[in-house]
């Protein structure tokens, strides 16, 4: 492998991580907020879901873990919460990768919606356990609706990134 190709491959592999990193940073911006509840769009879920199916060797468990830690540190949520949920989400999807990769886009969208629901449910249970009171799930439901509806857009962007750069490696 020539040096140039190696460098290109390294950059390409980093690109998926940078993509996830940007998604985490975007949650901090006031623009990307769901009105009334003021919760962010969790784009990162769509990115992890897409890459765990189509490029699981590049955006791997370690990346999901690091992104989770980074997200927790930035958001002020209990450290380790996203670091636990992201790799778990990644693991569940990547274990079924062979099955999922054969599905059509609409079927994948449905599976994503189901996975996001389970993710939200676990998140709600964990937060309620930590806070000791039954929290309002309104923000979480809105987040779920937005992340499911925005999946085609994020998957399209990830697909474009995957195809555009994948040909060169």
């Amino acid at each position: 492998m020539s040096q140039r190709l190696f460098l290109w491959r390294f950059l390409y592999e980093s690109l998926f991580f940078i993509c996830g990193f940007c998604c985490v940073l975007m949650t901090m911006m006031p623009f990307f907020k769901i009105p009334y509840y003021q919760v962010s769009f969790p784009f990162i879920l769509s990115v992890i879901f897409y890459f765990s199916i189509f490029r699981s060797t590049f955006l791997n468990n370690l990346s999901a873990f690091v992104l989770g830690i980074f997200s927790d540190l930035l958001s002020g949520e209990p450290l380790g919460l996203s670091a636990f949920l992201y790799p778990t989400f990644f693991l569940i999807v990547s274990l079924n990768q062979k099955l999922l990769i054969q599905l059509t886009f609409v079927q994948l969208w449905g599976i994503f919606s189901f996975c996001a629901f389970i993710y939200g449910l676990i998140l709600y249970i964990l937060f309620s356990m930590i806070s000791g009171v039954v929290l309002s799930g309104g923000g979480l439901i809105m987040q779920y609706i937005f992340v499911t509806l925005s999946y085609p857009l994020i998957a399209g962007l990830c697909g474009w990134l995957n195809q555009k750069n994948g040909d060169r490696v």
Binding site: M29, Y37, L73, G76, P78, F84, F127, S136
Partner: protein, 285 residues
């Protein structure tokens, strides 16, 4: 040599197979430490805050500018209506002005008679909101000003409308402001004229809930909610909001500050800069 190679390959394959479980276990351990607010975790968090905030602030600058522009256009559109409303308000305030000056005079006389000791002047700073955390349940904002500017944990934050939260983490140049609506926010408050003591608890909606009410407490919609000063988190007597809704599920409070975005906040040092546990002398812990 070959054996060594195969052994290494097998080890690598096993590591890859068990890596996900390993990461999940590490994350769970971190979560336990994180929930217990371990000092090391807090220091890592503040370091990350200091490192990433300039980047987030830089990226979100155009968005902030756009927000300002949209607000500005909105203000121009509403200027005539607002002007009419202000004229009416001014007329009614003129009548209140006389009453207020009369009351101020009476207040001064009573203070003299009762040998009232005034509350000491408190230091306050105006800081800029740089980022919003956007968590599903946690509600906090990152503001400029940190340890280098003399900021301490426990400073209370206000907008021009009223109380919004307090500083919970201080980095070198930035601090994290925990909002009243955060899922971990618990404020001892007094409600209504009868001063019923209970807790205002954030529940991930813009309307926090009143919990731990005493048996048979009589609370009605519109009652004022002020801090009680218990537990030393907030000073006593700060206005928080009014009782908005009462139903079978609970009592909700409408806060004085209802806007989700604000560019500047005022942080005030009421001398509550330390945790209760850390402020207890070592021999009395």
């Amino acid at each position: 040599m070959e054996n060594k190679f195969f052994r290494f390959k097998r080890l690598k394959a096993q590591t890859i197979r068990f890596a996900p479980i390993l990461f999940i276990m590490i994350a769970l351990l971190t979560l336990i430490l994180g929930v217990s607010h371990h000092p090391r975790i807090v220091s890592v968090r503040t370091s990350v805050l200091d490192t990433t905030t300039p980047l987030v602030s830089f990226i979100s600058a155009p968005v902030r500018w756009m927000h300002g522009l949209v607000d500005g256009i909105g203000d121009i559109v509403l200027v005539y209506r607002e002007n009419g409303r202000l004229r009416l308000e001014n007329a009614s305030l003129q009548t209140w002005k006389n009453t207020a000056s009369q009351l101020a005079f009476e207040n001064q006389e009573i203070k003299k008679t009762a040998r009232y000791l005034p509350v000491k002047e408190v230091a306050s700073y105006t800081v800029r909101v740089l980022a919003d955390n956007g968590g599903t349940f946690s509600k906090s904002k990152i503001v400029s000003g940190g340890v280098d500017d003399g900021f301490k944990k426990g400073y209370v934050a206000f907008t021009h409308n009223g109380l919004i939260g307090r500083i919970v983490e201080t980095g070198k140049n930035f601090s994290r402001l925990l909002l009243v609506t955060d899922y971990l926010s618990r404020i001892p408050v007094m409600v209504g004229d009868k001063r019923i003591v209970c807790i205002l608890s954030g529940d991930n909606t813009p309307y926090p809930k009143l919990i731990l009410l005493p048996e048979g407490a009589e609370i009605k919609e519109g009652d004022s909610v002020v801090t009680s000063g218990d537990a030393g988190i907030y000073p006593s007597g700060l206005s928080v909001g009014r009782v908005d809704k009462i139903d079978s599920e609970g009592i909700w409070v409408a806060l004085l500050e209802t806007r989700p975005h604000f560019e500047f906040v005022r942080v005030v040092d009421f001398g509550l800069g330390q945790d209760i546990l850390t402020s207890v002398p070592e021999d009395k812990k």
